[in-house]
Point group: C3
Chain length 138, copies 3
Amino acid sequence: MIIQKEITLSSKPRGFHLITNEILDNISEIKNMEVGLMNILIKHTSASLTINEDADPLVRKDFENYFNKFIPEGEDYYTHTGEGDDDMPAHLKTSVLGCSLNIPIKKGQLNLGTWQGIYLCEHRNRGGNRNIVITIIN
Amino acid sequence: MIIQKEITLSSKPRGFHLITNEILDNISEIKNMEVGLMNILIKHTSASLTINEDADPLVRKDFENYFNKFIPEGEDYYTHTGEGDDDMPAHLKTSVLGCSLNIPIKKGQLNLGTWQGIYLCEHRNRGGNRNIVITIIN
Amino acid sequence: MIIQKEITLSSKPRGFHLITNEILDNISEIKNMEVGLMNILIKHTSASLTINEDADPLVRKDFENYFNKFIPEGEDYYTHTGEGDDDMPAHLKTSVLGCSLNIPIKKGQLNLGTWQGIYLCEHRNRGGNRNIVITIIN
């Protein structure tokens, strides 16, 4: 059986945001599943999804600082510049981090490690709402 | 139901190439699917797959420039050098970008965002043909 | 049909390790499968999984050297520093490389390319045992 739904995440400031609970609020269908697999895909090319440490907010701050340093803005090797200095770096960050995640389901819950949470990585200064497709196989 | 097939993409020059239509040409099976999930995996370690902006070709040019700068050739910390200067950076780029994608299917189409396309990322100077496994669950 | 199991990989030194055989030893269930898809997810935020060249061990050595250079330790832009200099870079490396893989199954085997193997990427100095969830759809 496959379930698919689309949700819209409200606009978030540039940076890395923990969205595990926002995702869980939208997948009550998994409650009775013994095992399964969930795919979530963000339908954009300037915001991404990743899984990382969900305890200390400083981790997410350091993610923003690191990626700004290693995928910098305003470099002269960028030619796709018409949408602003934050645009081309946002495309690159999105492909480095990825636009989809696959997470196992077990006994009605996401089967993640103790410290793993889902991040929405907003790479634009004003990204606006972000649409996500959730596909669940069980 | 699971369908699996293998296709060969013709040799492409080093760089980032939009292959959405080449993939679509090979998955007519999804036309009648209400919902599903497609995995595509490239069976190589020096070319990769990613999803990014499919409108402006300059984005793909900037991808090539960026990755050449941040995963440079000819550095003295490389020890796997027997297959040419472009080889070890190609392995690294492949793992940073990834060798597989998972894309939701809805109402007979890939359920991607308006600006999302599938890129073949050819990291070798002469990569030759590239083989891809397509697995569709519905 | 979906099968899910969890395995523990024994502690490995910091670096990139080929674990294809350790995974295969734990998925004898695929022997009779015509086609399928396997997801493996590492339940940690400072170790990751990737697919790359499985022949020359120097490739894995170069991975360690490259990632140490481009995701360096001890930089003054890190604020999450309480768990040691290797901790925040380990989180970043994990998100760049990813915590899960999807691999097609065909005729009782993983349908990978000739040179593709599964790497456990241990980013901590003393990472300890690592837990992995394997989910197989067929």
